[in-house]
Amino acid sequence: MSRVQNVVVGSVRTALGWVPAQWLPGGTPDPLIERRAAIGRQASRLDGPQKVAGEARFAAEVAMDRLVYATLVHSPVTRGRITRLDTAAAEAAPGVTLVMTHRNMPRLGTLPLIGVSDLTAVGNSSLPIMQDGEIRYNGQVVALVLADTQEQADHAAGLIELDYAAETARTRFAEAKAGARTPASILIDKNHVSIGNAERELASAPYRVDYLYRTPGQNHNAIELHALTVAWQGEQLLVHDATQMVAASAAALAKLFGLKKDDVRVLSPFVGGGFGGKGLWDHQILAIAAARLAGRPVRLALSREGVYRIIGGRSPTEQRVAIAADAQGQFTALVHTGYSVMPPYGACPEQYTMGTRSLYRARSVEIVQRHIDLDIVPNTFMRAPGEAIGTFALESAVDELAHAMGVDPIELRLRNLPERHPISGAPFSQHALGQAYRDGAGRFGWERRKAEPGTRREGEWLIGLGCATGSFPYARMPGANVRLTLHADGTATVSCSAQEMGMGTATVQVQHAADRLGLPIDAITFEMGDSALPAAPMAGGSCQTASIAGAMAAAADKLIGELLRLAGNDTPLAGLRAGEVRFADAGIAGIAAPARHETFRSILARAGRETVSVTAAGSMPLEFLKFAMHSSSAIFCALRVSGVTGEVRVDRLLGSFDCGTILNPMTAASQFRGGMIMGLGLALTEETLFDERSGRIMNATLADYHVPAHLDVPEIDVMWTGIPDPRSPLGARGIGEIGITGVAAAVANAVFNATGKRVRELPITLDKLL
């Protein structure tokens, strides 16, 4: 991201500031906000029966003739080069069809890194993939073995002999800080924001806090391992992949392998969890190349260790947050700066200051992120990248300030909520964080909190309550396409390449299509997970639902025109124009005169058509450049800390969300809870242990990296304001990521309330409390 981009985004924002809202997408609120039938209803997942029966087919489960299995060999060295490579024994081992190393790997270019301007750029790393004998990070793949069975491939992989000449690697965070880079922008925002003189305000304020907060690396740990089953048919490539980016992967693979776009087909109807990790990485490229060399279909499933070695996770950070306040508790300075790891061959900037930019107003602001370069598998986006850990630092600091001032921490927050976006000055499209706090505090029983820490004890246990704010921006992706097909029997099919990783994609979009088209739910079929369908954006940034919804709304508009044309003059609708009708009761009706109505069946029958089909792209998502569109939440936590062992047990967790319209309360509640549970892991147990001496991850297993297990997870209460966002399709904003934000701070603040100990380094393990 460049300075040029800052200027472009800046001037688009300024220009849009002058454009009347009604000219822009979202200028007139989506009529479905007022007219909901299926949307907003509790509905079980449409794919539930398949999933509970084990009938949902995942990428590594596709049967193929002559299939061979792949095993990868990873470098134990962090930097250096291969000095000896002997594959003879492996090649001679039973069942082996191919040993692939940099010697025989086809020569390929590198993947364009994930970016905002080219939607087919989805690479997480721009390093060459097995093109030479260089080792650039610990765990890099140095060889791949194909054999008739997995057991044979695993055995043969162990027979490959490799020697390395190790070189000095950059592995120490603290040492690398000196050489940190300051990028011009973070995603689409200008990186360095400086308003007033924050340091001077800090020095002169009656109240201030100024601390460093540290968060470790983390891994996504979706339970499904990264896997693909791939087959070449001549110059055509078929990839069954576990991916969050069906269409973009297909386009990127076509480019990399020099194929026509239509000759690559990526299928991914079900993904066993992604959280940002299931993008395009080395393993897909390696498996596809090996399948080509061997002339056989290949299945490659990473080992759990392999996932840690070659799929990056969340970057570790060191963040400084300083806040100053005047005697009334108004913020006079807000400083959020820090360091995260992003090697130059990676693309994901861990945007931990993003929440800070929109949450509070302050007279002076100083925000800047710096990137550290280590020899490491490139980090990537992991659920609420930036916000998950940025809110830990910011919201711990707010709590510290409230304690220093003797003010209730909710009250302090409410005093500093902004009217408009504090930095861009743009009006909020909808923003009710204050209400979320009041509603949440009431339900949680916040008034029972004792302001003085360490004063509630029950036997061995110290009891504490804490709260914190979560936040996540709205986004809608350009380039979202949907095809709507009406059939002669009056049913409809909605098609796009979208992905399902547990969000309930099909369920919610079928609810949407039912209301959009005036049909019952069971008249709608949703097709997805196939790059041969009209391209949907990747599942990321909590924007899939809104992006598809925008495209479906555009397709529905187009369909109305098409149906009016087919209906001709011999219809009760004759003479009405597209703007004067709408979908209703399995057909089209006049808006002013609803009695003028004709059903789809009747229109299609008279026109002698089996189907009518339209494809449309969503409008350019300019709404979120003109308006400040942010979801926010208030998270409340009640916990116990053992005075004997320092063990923390979370007893209650409540999330009160302000995220626009909730489309399906059942699946939404599950997504909120899921995010909050990952937040408990972030707060208390999760840490990718990186050995700074060797550059190697030490706990590359699910036994040593503790994700929350059943006994760690209390009953989680969720609620929402449900106020529609007048600027977004359906009034909805994304909900997949916000759940995790704010949770770590709510836990840390509750730990402080229980014990009087302030832990500024995650995870909050027992040793830090003894």
């Binding site: 999933k51 029966a53 339970i223 995010g675 699910l702 994700v707």
Partner: protein, 168 residues
Amino acid sequence: MAIMINGAAVAAPGDARVSLLDLLREQLHLTGTKVGCNQGACGACTVLVDGERVLSCLTLAVQADGRSVTTIEGLGSAESPHPLQAAFIKHDGFQCGYCTPGQICAAAAMLREAEAGMPSYLTADLTAAPVLLSRDEVRERMSGNLCRCGAHNGIVDAILEVAAEHAA
């Protein structure tokens, strides 16, 4: 001898290295049994062997020779679900659905363990049979089955509902 898998006899594989998990998934295409770690840490591969829950990734297929294996496909189907499968849908006890077959197989065995009076580390009365399943008892007994989507609340609700039906 043979392995009985969901009621059908299957010959044990010739290669002794083949895990029960890989026999099911790769040779028999019973892909309802999932794999999340291949090292006994996640529970996704849980199946029932002679009615007891085992991690099929840590079981060699030949160890199941002469025994009876039930996988998620043997418990029920989309058309005629097992009560636990139906309860998981009702309580939204899953999101991506990948850990789900393992959770359901584990829960089926766990209910029988409690009924038989097998204590957990939370059971106060070690001699009680059946063990009354509190929410925390279920959580403790199910902690070997990880869910990264965070469907824990729904999973426990689903299991408690089926446990209550059992008891009634």
